[in-house]
């Protein structure tokens, strides 16, 4: 049976193919799904679907709408873990196409939910279906890029995962523009915006589907010779996905990612009220929005910068920098706030958020170093469950500890100090996990079955 356009066999690149054609294909997918980080732009309009100019008593509550994003992020991690092996088997084109269908379709199903004003349909559409698109789309190009860039795996995956950070920078102004365009006396414009974005993102992801190629099995970059000098934490062996997650190294890396993400994600979600409360009277809501934008920019830039740096510094050393510098910065932030050094405060959080993004972007190359390239996409998928956990843990820590302190009489400006010290503790746990990293035991290494005689 001839291979279909979506099959892995149809995507094998011919000899002489320019490998720099592959990162934009991956970026097209990641820039689209990165929209998830800008979902909050829909929160308020979604609470006025019936009242249009005000929230009608029958309208959805903000807290209920807020669950949509949480469900999407939880499903992201779960779907990456569940479908990781399938993604590895069918190749990047079919999995990117599935991601495009799920992500674009999620917007359309959500629009149907808005039309009938059924919140569960919104959860099902953007949360579950869209979340599957996020998870499958996130891991689809990772192992392909690692195979195309064995000499610079950090840079290659950093480039793609940078797109996930950059997607929000595009989606936030795009959503506002579209909602303004579709707004009318009988509509907030959010339903029409969802339909339009579903179509736009599906088509944009299709650019990646069409452009992506996998290298031939024996392909190597011209003139590249694998380093003969053995590096202790870079393996030349492979570990199968079903064995990888039983190793100590998998769970240490899970801890490394979870702690690094928890320390950043809570701050990212609370950045706007935090800076306004710490510098009360000095930072307006508009300036606070600028702070959030600046953090998103560093989150994106850090993904490329730190992942590329890890190719030279080594993966473990790069995470050591994240954890040690993170502890130093988090422990000084409360003092910077009390002393009123707003520029230094902003700079400290910009660096923290660059390392948050860098943690996401460097982990695929770290997995490649520990478990080899054979099943790196599937292993990455399972590791992303750490993100799901951190996505709940980070905001809960920041929000609840702040509220607890305010309820016990602590001034709002001081209510974040304890949280920052707790973040230092989390980063220290991550540091210990990273410090304990050793090569994977040989008994887990993959051995090809011997041919039958």
């Amino acid at each position: 049976m001839p291979a279909s356009f979506l099959d892995r066999e149809s995507t094998v690149a011919p000899a002489g193919y320019n490998r720099f054609l592959v990162p934009p294909a991956a970026l097209a997918v990641h820039l689209a799904i990165g929209q998830a980080y800008a979902f909050s732009t829909f929160n308020l309009p979604l609470t006025k679907l019936l009242g249009i100019t005000h929230a009608d008593p029958a309208d959805w509550k903000l807290t209920d709408v807020g669950w949509t994003f949480s469900i999407a992020i939880a499903i992201l991690g779960l779907s990456a873990a569940v479908f990781g092996h399938w993604v590895e088997r069918v190749g990047p084109r079919k999995s990117m196409f599935t991601a495009a269908l799920c992500f674009g379709g999620g917007f359309i199903v959500s629009a149907v939910g808005m039309h009938f004003h059924q919140l569960w349909v919104l959860y099902l559409g953007y949360g579950v279906l869209g979340g599957c698109g996020l998870g499958i789309g996130y891991i689809s190009p990772v192992s392909t890029l690692i195979k195309w860039f064995p000499d610079r795996p950090g840079m290659a995956t950093g480039m793609a995962i940078m797109g996930f950070g950059g997607g929000a920078l595009i989606a936030a102004p795009l959503s506002l523009l579209l909602m303004e365009h579709f707004k009318s006396p009988i509509s907030t414009g959010v339903l029409e915006t969802f339909v339009t974005m579903g179509v736009i993102y599906f088509m944009y992801m299709m650019i990646g589907v069409i452009a992506v190629r996998v290298p031939a099995a024996d392909w190597k970059p011209a003139g590249w010779v694998p380093s003969a000098k053995a590096q202790r934490l870079v393996t030349s062996a492979n570990v199968a996905v079903d064995l990888a997650w039983r190793t100590r190294q998998f769970w240490l890396l899970w801890g490394v990612l979870c702690m690094n993400v928890t320390a950043g994600i809570g701050v990212l979600g609370q950045a706007s009220p935090m800076i306004q409360e710490i510098f009360s009277g000095r930072v307006t809501p508009a300036a606070a929005a600028g702070f959030v934008g600046l953090l998103s920019l560093f989150n994106m830039g850090g993904r490329f910068f730190w992942a590329t740096t890890s190719d030279y510094l080594g993966r473990r050393n790069t995470y050591m920098v994240f954890f040690l510098l993170g502890i130093l910065l988090y422990s000084t932030v409360p003092s910077l706030g009390h002393l009123g050094y707003i520029e230094l405060f902003v700079a400290a959080f910009a660096v923290i958020l660059s390392m948050y993004g860098g943690g996401f972007a460097t982990i695929p190359a770290y997995l490649r170093d520990m478990f080899g390239t054979m099943n790196v996409g599937a292993i990455h998928g399972r590791l992303l469950t750490a993100w799901s956990v951190a996505g709940v843990l980070g905001p809960v820590l920041v929000n609840y500890i702040r509220q607890f302190q305010i309820d016990h009489g602590v001034a709002k400006a001081q209510a974040y100090s304890i949280t920052m010290y707790i973040m230092c503790g989390l980063l220290f746990v991550g540091f210990l996990c990273n410090l304990a990293m050793r090569p994977v035991d040989e008994r887990y290494h993959y051995r090809a079955p011997k041919p039958a005689k």
Binding site: N18, L27, G166, A172, A211, A286, A289, G290, G293
Partner: protein
């Protein structure tokens, strides 16, 4: 230079630069 390479990088680069410029415009409000 490969024409396809330029087109593909422009397709991802232009929206990204637009998003970055919009974000920077907002971020400047922090220091004004």
């Amino acid at each position: 230079m490969n024409f396809r390479l330029i087109v593909l990088w422009l397709v991802v680069g232009i929206p990204l630069l637009w998003g970055v410029s919009k974000t920077l415009q907002n971020a400047l409000k922090l220091f004004t």
